[in-house]
Subunit: 438 residues, 2 copies
């Protein structure tokens, strides 16, 4: 693709806060051989290559740089599910939702469920080690990767791992490419582990008096049982969602907790009771439970609407920080303090059971002061996470957006080690330059 | 340690089939600083370093080479459990069983359970990415590693990962050290994820007419539900165990299946029914079920006794191959054929739900022909696994024992990539030379 109008659609992902350059060309690869040809040429002439799946990334991992080749995997869409081995062999351009659907047709389940699952590609999910709502019980994308084919910077295609569920033959090289954000190679095929479908979920919604009470309940819940979902919404988010969807949410609540159990039968009832007890013990004003999956999904829709709802408040910077669970109250209080200090509105939703929070900093794009305050808040939140021993990104990735803060989190020795691995695999540094490593 | 008598106890692990050299010295490190001092010196003078935990390895990953330093982590035994974050920070010399016990004291659970869990170190578990019986539901050691401190070949200590449950800040370097068998660095501290304790298990034992019927039942079970344990013993093993423990096992059975569900309540009952149905549908002669955990443990003791029981038949080569689940029947038939072809007795137990089998090749160490036949059988089994697209090691590691077969499985490109990573991290190649890479 070289026509400027079409090329423009390959320049950016969905992140805010980093610029994009102008690519020379975009290539819509249809096979591993296409990818190999692109990389061989790019490596020879030292042309930067920015790989993109569906372009739904939120951290600037698929932003073009000037003069680069954008390598799109959108046309690599094959999928083969083997119900006997419970694996799916997929090409990277398939959407997450399509992987789930293919598994479903065989009565199986692919658990990872980033909020973007309907629009994000499985290749992008693997390249960012994407998380989601079910992680609290089922882990992240990387936990489901059994093997892959990856094309290295010089165009060599290598197969790593395979369809066996346990395999310790040699270094775990496939794991190194999971979350490597296009900096080490281009993933052209993935073998995914599928699991038996869970039981229909029981759902609980609790209206908590304060954020602190909600965080305390989360700690009690995760110590007692393994809910299949455990999400938190703060009051700003509750109001934004209720203004948007008019669901009659409790606007006086300090926070709302949503939890699910997919154990089925009496085990689910028992788990729901443990969760309800933890909420009640921390002053829940109202606890609603249902074993009707459709009704449960209605409540979840409040959570799912939180991002579009907060988008209606203004322009946003979306954060993705994480801390060890006991530091969740400190993190949440710290975010409130940063909101007050910078005069910004911050709406926070969290994958609470994982300690992974998404504060959304709202600003007025037409007002430079408001934008500057939001940027300040964004930066302060990252520094808060680091100061708590946490992470600047739980599931979105570093991309270009957070590269300036990465060394502060990892330290110089881990950065030096990262550089050594990068140079060993991509000596000409053509792959996604500026991402992860400045 | 330089006294020859004591030094001799640091020469070997528990593997059969590879020789050990004579170390210069063994060092019982007590701290990360000790490990750093050893590596700095070794790197400067290019002295090989063989790191060892408890020396319980089965693949020759901790066999001394001539003139090496054996670096023992046995005195690095601290453990700190944080029940709020459900993490344990441990030093590598602690035994797996001690990690489990420390978690238990806080009402928590560290799932990975290699059969050696009472004698193997957590550092060795991480360095080999050890498996176990609960993997079928709970995954392997690597799934529980959140972070680590590792000392690189040049003596630099680096912290990777951390206590956050989700963390995609930078490359997943900690995952690269999981399963690296002492070839890339020395792990000096590990942050492990703990989970809430499961319910007391329900247990099922099925006596199956043939191995094929047992394998077919396994496929039906794993497609329908997620048992917390799913093990298989073949007839040779059943007889060996019954001769040893006189448990009154069904000596006419072609194979025995053991399964557990830890869902509790009606969910466990339902899961047990699904498993019982799959066994009955494949011609089970007898299916016994109990929801009494102690009684279930009695049946499991038959499985746990299989290795000591087969050891009574003679000297043994212990295999550890894996295939994709649907190839389990082919693997099992192939192993029988190899037994017939080489005139050897092969007793097979399998983590059937993972497709990971441990054929035990029995031989008479006093008879060179018998030993040669056993070696032939060992080699043929590895080649069988490779020909089925499987792995030469599911959970024990490559060590020195299986290095000759590794390239046949991985291919030359993946081996070249392994070499690039090795040279980037250990340019003087002092770390466990001859392991993984020839």
């Amino acid at each position: 693709v070289t026509e400027p109008d079409v090329l423009a659609t390959y320049r950016m992902d969905q992140s805010q806060g980093t610029g994009a350059g102008m690519p020379l060309v975009a290539v819509r690869a249809e096979s591993t051989r296409h990818v190999q040809a692109v990389l061989r040429t790019a490596n020879r002439f030292r042309v930067p290559v920015v790989t993109r799946g569906a372009g739904s990334g939120l951290a600037g991992g698929a932003m073009a740089v000037d003069g680069c080749i954008v390598l799109s995997t959108e046309r690599m869409r094959s999928v083969h599910v083997d119900p006997a081995s419970r694996t799916a062999v997929v090409q990277p351009g398939l959407l997450n939702v399509e992987v789930k659907a293919a598994a479903e047709r065989h009565g199986l389940w692919y658990p990872p469920d980033p909020s973007s699952y309907e629009i994000s590609s499985i290749g992008g999910n693997v390249a960012t080690n994407a998380g989601g709502l079910c992680c609290v019980k089922y882990g992240v994308t990387g936990n489901y990767v059994l093997g892959m084919e990856v094309v290295l910077a010089d165009g060599t295609a290598v197969r790593l791992g395979g369809p066996t569920l346990k395999n310790v033959a040699g270094l775990q090289l496939d794991k190194l490419f999971v979350g490597s954000e296009g900096c080490l190679g281009v993933i052209t095929e993935i073998t995914l582990r599928l699991v038996a479908r869970p039981e229909a979920p029981h759902t609980l919604v609790a209206s908590m008096p304060t954020l602190e009470a909600a965080a305390a309940a989360v700690l009690e819940i995760t110590a007692a049982c393994r809910p299949s979902l455990l999400e938190l919404m703060d009051r700003t988010t509750i109001h934004a969602v209720d203004d948007y969807l008019h669901m009659g949410l409790d606007r006086d609540a300090g926070a709302m907790l949503l939890a699910q159990s997919d154990l089925g039968g009496s085990a689910a009832v028992r788990e729901m009771e443990q969760i309800a007890d933890a909420c009640a013990g921390n002053g829940a004003k109202d606890v609603f439970r249902t074993d009707d999956a459709a009704e449960g999904e209605l409540f979840l829709s409040a959570r799912r609407a939180s991002l579009p709802a907060t988008h209606r408040l203004g322009s946003v910077y979306l954060e993705d920080i994480g801390v060890a669970l006991p530091d969740l109250p400190k993190l949440i209080n710290g975010i409130s303090a940063i909101g007050a200090q910078t005069g910004t509105t911050i709406a926070t939703v969290a994958h609470a059971g994982d300690g992974n929070a998404h504060p959304v900093v709202v600003y007025d794009a037409a007002d430079p002061e408001s934008e500057a305050a939001a940027r300040r808040a964004f930066s302060l939140i990252l520094e808060l996470a680091i100061s708590l021993g946490g992470t600047i990104t739980g599931e979105h990735g570093v991309g270009r957006l957070k590269t300036p803060w990465l060394e502060q989190q990892l330290g110089s020795d881990a950065m030096a080690l990262t550089r050594r691995i990068k140079l060993a695999l991509d000596p000409e540094q053509i792959l996604n330059p500026g991402v992860i490593l400045p």
